[in-house]
Amino acid sequence: MSPVDHDTTEQSEQLSEYRRREQSITLSALEPPAGGEGEERQELLTLNFGPHHPATHGVLRLLVTLQGEVVRDIKPIIGYVHTGIEKTAEDKAYWKVIPVVERMDYLAYHFNAMTFCGAVETLAEVEVPKRGEYLRVIHMELNRIMSHLVWLGTSALDLGAISMFWYCFREREKVLDLFEMSTGQRMHTRYFQVGGVIEDIPLGFAEKLSAFLAEMPTRVNQYRALLHSNEIVLQRLRGTGLLDAGRLLEFGVTGPLLRAAGNPWDLRKAAPYCSYGDFDFKIPIGTVGDNYDRFNVRFTEMDESVAIIRQALEGLPEGPWITSDRKVALPPRHELATSMEALIHHFKLVTEGLRVPPGEAYYPVESPRGELGCWVRSDGSAKPARVHMRDPSFVNLQAFSEMAEGGYIADMIATLAALDPILGGIDR
């Protein structure tokens, strides 16, 4: 507001006191704040990004210390969706733990189940048949695509590219239709069991999956084309939230965040589990580790997942989909009418649960957010003595403060989006 420009000499007597004061204001030099000048002496403001906030991807609370708009320190406060999953799991039979543990990282439910079943299978020395492993891979990679789609939709929403949300959820519905076809549930499918998968895929699943796979690469390209050369996206994501690979490793960060910084660590390639060694796929890596790289890495991961699923579907072997060890897996229902042993096994498994020899095992998998591991301690009974889920988001969150320091609040929001935290996994 520039000072009013009119002849003040004769009009000043008619001007009100207010107008005279208004005219005397000049905007040239504002008084520096008391205590000295310079940017360092500006007051620091601590702002609470409360647990209820549209941009925190769940109930994450951040205490952000700001200097103007520049973020100086972030303290995340978590625990707002702590569900006591690990404690509940100690009270349930092994196969009943699976639905409990699935709800931890709620966008990667098949991975949660895989890691728990893997740990129990290690302890009980159960062999998963090939078909079971391939079906597990198909469902895990579909889940990875779905998780990245939700991430993309919500991150673009945070940045302001609101239409991405609807496009991503359109594809997500297709993935959930596939899950519903094979497992009966959209989310938290309880499909993975100790020893394999609970049921074979129905007729028509392969066709529907092939149709989805034929269409998905085009969609990923379309979404990439919408965002990757957009001027606003480039300005907001290029160079923000930078953290180099060495520092990330100190914080224990794995997954797309580490790969975006240039370190090609991926458990599917490094320590193949569940027949991942049979498939030919690439690991996308980034260059500098800023938010733009993280976006690109996840886009390309969707493409690679499509390739893996296609190979798994084409190479799907015939055979059982769950182990035939009757002490671990339920016998097929038709056997119950003819075989006494099958009936007894069924009875023991349903009432008591499977018994696992005592021991401790840690089983890591590569979830969409990084290394997801499950540590199971068994004391020989039908209930686990301790189940600990090593959640990637919980560990990745420690690096968030350093990623966002020195940037603006808007960059902090973009970094939080690219971090892909899932509060269910963080809080368990």
Binding site: G50, Y80, V81, T83, V100, R103, H188, G424
Partner: protein
Amino acid sequence: MALRRARAAVGRASVADPATGPAGEGLGARVDPEALRVRELGASQLLRGGELEGPAQPAHLEGADLERHVEERVMTTTLEKAVAWARSNSFFPATFGLACCAIEMMSIVAARTDVARFGYEAFRASPRQADLLILSGRVSIKMAPIVRRIYDQMLEPKWAISMGACCSSMGVFNNYALVPADKFMPVDVHVPGCPPRPEALMHGVLKLRKMVLDDPDMSWRERYGAVGTEEVLPGA
């Protein structure tokens, strides 16, 4: 001219179509669009004056014509019913996702189960602007006071839907860390499921809509005797 054509069309249609009802039906009855158009045109003709079919006359209506006009154009109801109709069709849900159910709540905003069809797509982040709290996910003991505070910050009239098994009835996890939503706030509709399908949540929201539509006086404070729970700022 238009009127004569429309009448002719209705004349042709009404022989076969029994759905054309008498004029002046209440809200919600099936109204044949052709017949409605005819009545509308007839009513505006009435206002313009005089005969329904004939040269236009200067407008003034009285007596039976006026009554007929009012019958066909105007509907009476109570203020509460009208307000309830407006309120029920324009919930502003608060963006309040806690856990897995939040993803299915996001799905109802997405294109397949489109909540905008019903008018509820305006999710407001600020509780002061929202009137529907969809508690989607498990409420832990650390979060419960915050949920309560958000609910208190919402302005009357407000409603709450407890989505999913966890907030309605502890769900899969009946343990030390969770609190059922009914323990600390009144809930109007519980939607079961783990997580409930988007269609199930939509059914729950529409059930709430029906509840609000039918019972205009839905203020929860009177129902539950819950005075003194408004959020009061310190020093006020």
